[in-house]
């Protein structure tokens, strides 16, 4: 049996870490948390646009992971894939529970940064808001595929696993999603700091 001390936990695949945890290794669970926690938090944040909610959702997802760890089948699914699915479902539930009018009000308003990069930070913030607003107007599956591909930077095969689609279907969804975003954001180019090309 593999023990924590025999090899570096950082070299092990996510699934192997979960199996180690199920067999009594807390350090394996900590490594898995360090590896996936920040990614899953950001994934939830991209969707919810609220730091506190994103933290809650990520915690809930990990609690569920530890709960099912003893029954985890290594060949069944990737741990990260499973967690992304759980996060997506929890986000949907959270959004449904929100009042409709609060969806844009929940955007975080961090204190203004007085550093020289403050202008860039403010520009990023306004561009991010515009993008998230446009994403929220897309059909759910299109928006999900675009977020996973272009914000979470996952590969098409990974997205296909998470969404239960073929790679071709994912490519189609993201392409259509991007075109819809471009159409929506076309009128805001100047406000977002871009030259308005007419070609």
């Amino acid at each position: 049996m593999v023990k924590d001390t025999d090899i570096s936990l950082g070299d092990l695949a996510d699934n192997a870490l979960l199996v180690l945890f199920a067999n009594g290794s807390k350090p394996a669970a900590m490594e898995l948390t360090r590896r996936l926690g920040p990614k899953l938090f950001r994934h939830a944040y991209y969707r919810l646009q609220n730091k506190s909610d994103a933290e809650d959702i990520a915690q809930e997802a990990f609690l569920r992971l530890w709960k099912i760890a003893p029954e985890w089948k290594q060949d069944q699914a990737q741990v990260s894939t499973w967690l992304y699915r759980v996060i997506d479902n929890l986000c949907i539930d959270r959004l449904r529970a929100r009042r409709p009018s609060s969806s844009l009000d929940d955007l975080t308003n961090d204190p203004v940064d007085p550093s020289p990069s403050a202008d860039q930070s403010m520009l990023d913030q306004s561009r991010a808001r515009a993008l998230h607003t446009a994403l929220a107007a897309l059909p759910e599956r299109q928006a999900q595929a675009v977020r996973l591909r272009h914000l979470d930077k996952l590969t098409n095969p990974e997205i296909a696993q998470i969404m239960g689609l073929t790679v071709e279907a994912v490519e189609s969804l993201t392409a259509r999603g991007k075109r819809a975003l471009q159409t929506q954001l076309h009128g805001q180019k100047t406000a977002l700091g871009y030259e308005n090309d007419t070609a």
């Binding site: 360090r34 993008l131 914000l151």
Partner: protein, 131 residues
């Protein structure tokens, strides 16, 4: 792809990059909270320790249970071991003529009565066809 399309793609990529930069970094407190969700390993499935010493009867039961458990014939041999042990005990009583360590299991004998068959001829009468 036209120059216009390329510009649009580049601007959209720029928006994605801005959204990634705008996302907050997970705080140390949040990461600690995530670590705190990790339960103590095997807490739910901890096996209680066996008693240090056990009598010979418990030993017999355990040996029978182990035999079935290792053969994986029955999922739960604990009830079966009781039945088998009782059977073995019964055979042992039979072999010893109902006498366990000088104590008779015959209730009449134990109270000083002799066992007498009051209808000793009845069996033969039945065999003959009755009456």
């Amino acid at each position: 792809m036209t120059q216009h399309d390329q510009n649009q793609d580049a601007q959209l990529d720029d928006l994605f990059a801005a959204a990634r930069r705008d996302a907050p970094e997970p705080s140390d407190a949040f990461m600690q909270a995530l670590f705190d969700t990790i339960p103590e390993p095997n807490a739910a499935t901890a096996v209680t320790a066996e008693p240090v010493s056990q009598g010979w009867w418990a030993g017999v039961r355990q040996a029978i249970a182990d035999t079935f458990a290792t053969r994986d014939i029955f999922a739960d041999a604990s009830a079966l071991t009781g039945v088998i042990a009782a059977g073995v005990f019964g055979v042992w009583i039979g072999v010893n003529g109902g006498d366990i360590g000088g104590i008779s299991l015959n209730p009449f004998e134990a109270q000083g009565f002799d066992i007498v068959d009051p209808f000793s001829g009845l069996d033969l009468s039945y065999l003959d066809g009755g009456a």
